[in-house]
């Protein structure tokens, strides 16, 4: 069954959608959208380093995404506004990454594959990494769900309930780095943030509880992956962007529905 590249691609897309859904909800609730972008852009530097030192792309991307996420967490609230800081770090990391890739004269690499993903080239071992990473992220977030929610609502409330909100933030940061690293192959660094935010934002219009929002987001993400790949096959369009397009159309539909039902009540 896994011999078919379309099957592997679909499984890869669905795996990323499952990891991105609960994490994306927190990204939306905590207004960290740009944070996801910054981490993802940094990953291209990780790709360059992986190729230089002949590591797996996953390891390099994970390491740099992690360093980036930790740096941002550390620097937050020390002089610069968060969006300024992220703007500086995200685009510098991307620029350094692109420059670093150009030095790799010996290796002929297809940069587009990392910027926009190459989901149709997903191998069995990639699938293992993607589903392993996704399972780790989902397990982490499920385990700390209540604490993460409390810390999202109010830092002092977390302290008074006996746990450290900074540790919860670290768990999100870690999950984000893992998700970015596994999603590179599927949607590419430029569209990872879209997989995080769009399904979660679309789910908001249908959800009445935080848990249902995460589940609905997972459904929307998985559907986008399946339908996007199908559309890419039929219309011969790039796969990663097609997945994001389907998610965006769903977002638009649910938003209009949401507006209408809100207008009625």
């Amino acid at each position: 069954m896994l011999d078919d590249f379309m099957t592997r691609a679909t499984l890869a897309g669905v795996g990323v959608a499952f990891a991105a859904a609960p994490l994306g909800c927190f990204v939306v609730w905590r207004r960290m959208a740009y944070f996801g972008d910054a981490t993802a852009h940094a990953a291209i530097l990780g790709v360059a380093l992986s190729l230089t030192f002949q590591m797996s792309i996953f390891t390099g991307a994970l390491a740099v995404a992690l360093i980036m996420a930790l740096t941002v967490t550390l620097l937050a609230g020390r002089g610069y506004a968060m969006d300024t800081l992220l703007g500086v770090l995200a685009h510098s990391a991307l620029a350094f990454g692109l420059v670093a890739v150009s030095f790799l004269s010996g290796v002929r690499i297809d940069l587009m594959a990392y910027l926009f993903g190459d989901i149709l080239a997903v191998s069995r071992s990639d699938l293992l990494v993607i589903w392993g990473g996704a399972a780790l992220v989902v397990a982490l977030i499920t385990w700390r769900w209540s604490q993460l929610l409390t810390a999202t609502l109010n830092e002092e409330l977390a302290y008074a309930s006996g746990f450290d909100p900074k540790r919860e933030q670290l768990i999100l940061t870690l999950s984000l780095a893992v998700t970015v690293a596994v999603a590179i192959k599927v949607v590419g660094v430029l569209l990872i943030a879209a997989m995080l935010i769009i399904p979660a934002a679309a789910a908001r219009n249908l959800a009445r509880s935080p848990e249902s929002m995460a589940l609905i987001a997972a459904g929307i993400g998985a559907f986008s992956a399946v339908a996007g790949l199908r559309a890419a096959y039929v219309f011969d369009t790039p796969a990663g962007p097609s997945i994001v397009c389907v998610a965006a159309v769903l977002f638009a539909c649910f938003s209009i529905l949401g507006l209408k039902s809100r207008g009625r009540t």
């Binding site: 939306v28 905590r30 209540s146 929610l149 999202t152 609502l153 002092e156 302290y159 908001r204 929002m213």
Partner: protein, 246 residues
């Protein structure tokens, strides 16, 4: 047994000292209010008590197994986060629906269980926060400027609710406020803070203390007169209504 003991507490952010050598304690069942101007370290003191801020000197000791109910200053529920009152109340404690309803009743908002947090008014929201803090039957309630954003009437009725909670549950209450005139009348003890403890005692003693007047009096002339007037007025009013009830 004393619930909270703060000894010789200093808190520093970088080179900036916010609190120096603060001593205070809260006994079971009493209502203690911390008043002080902006930047006087009120919130830092409360943060040190719940463990959110590490003291640079001194220590905070809590009674073993002290159950704290915390009511935050403001809680921002992002409009993208769908969460009902019930889910919110059951977030950190393993409690039954029945306990939620009971806590909401104690807080004066019995009918809000199924409402979305984002749809509550300011007053309802603060009472839900109060109910959440009450749910595990705390020994002490900590309130950080809990009436911010409420109008005068709203905050007066909120403090009446606090007194009712104390009567009903017997828990101690430590709160921060800058609404002196409202808060004074419902406190057993007032601590006036400005980086250090300026003065401390019953509301009447603190209100007439020269340190307190220096802090809230200078340069505010008319405002002080207003405060004092309102305080007297409230006090008389409470007094007469109590007499009427008796």
């Amino acid at each position: 047994m004393t619930l909270i003991t703060v000894e010789n507490l200093s808190v520093r952010y970088g080179a900036h000292t916010v609190l120096s050598r603060v001593d205070m304690a809260v006994e079971p069942g009493e209502i203690v209010t911390i008043v002080g101007p902006n930047g006087s370290g009120k919130t830092s003191l409360l943060r040190a008590i719940i463990g959110a801020t590490r003291p640079s000197a001194g220590q905070v000791s809590l009674k073993p197994d002290l159950k704290i109910g915390y009511v935050p200053q403001k809680l921002h529920v992002d409009p993208t986060l769908p969460i009902s009152v019930e889910r919110f109340m059951r977030l950190t404690d393993r409690v039954s629906r029945k306990q939620c309803v009971a806590a909401l009743e104690t807080a004066g908002v019995p009918d809000l269980l199924y409402r979305q947090m984002s749809q509550l008014s300011g007053g309802q929201f603060q009472r839900v926060l109060l109910a959440r803090a009450l749910i595990n039957r705390p020994d002490i309630l900590l309130l950080d400027e809990a009436t911010q954003g409420l109008d005068q009437r709203g905050s007066a009725s909120f403090y009446q609710q606090i007194e009712a909670v104390r009567r009903e549950t017997g828990c101690a209450i430590l709160m921060i406020s800058h609404e002196l005139h409202v808060v004074m009348s419902s406190s057993d003890r007032v601590i006036c803070l400005n980086g250090h403890v300026c003065c401390e005692g019953s509301p009447a003693v603190v209100a007439s203390a020269p340190e307190y007047r220096a802090l809230f009096g200078t340069g505010t002339g008319g405002a002080l007169a207003l405060y004092r007037h309102e305080h007297d007025h409230n006090h008389d009013h409470d007094h007469s209504s109590k007499e009427a009830a008796e």
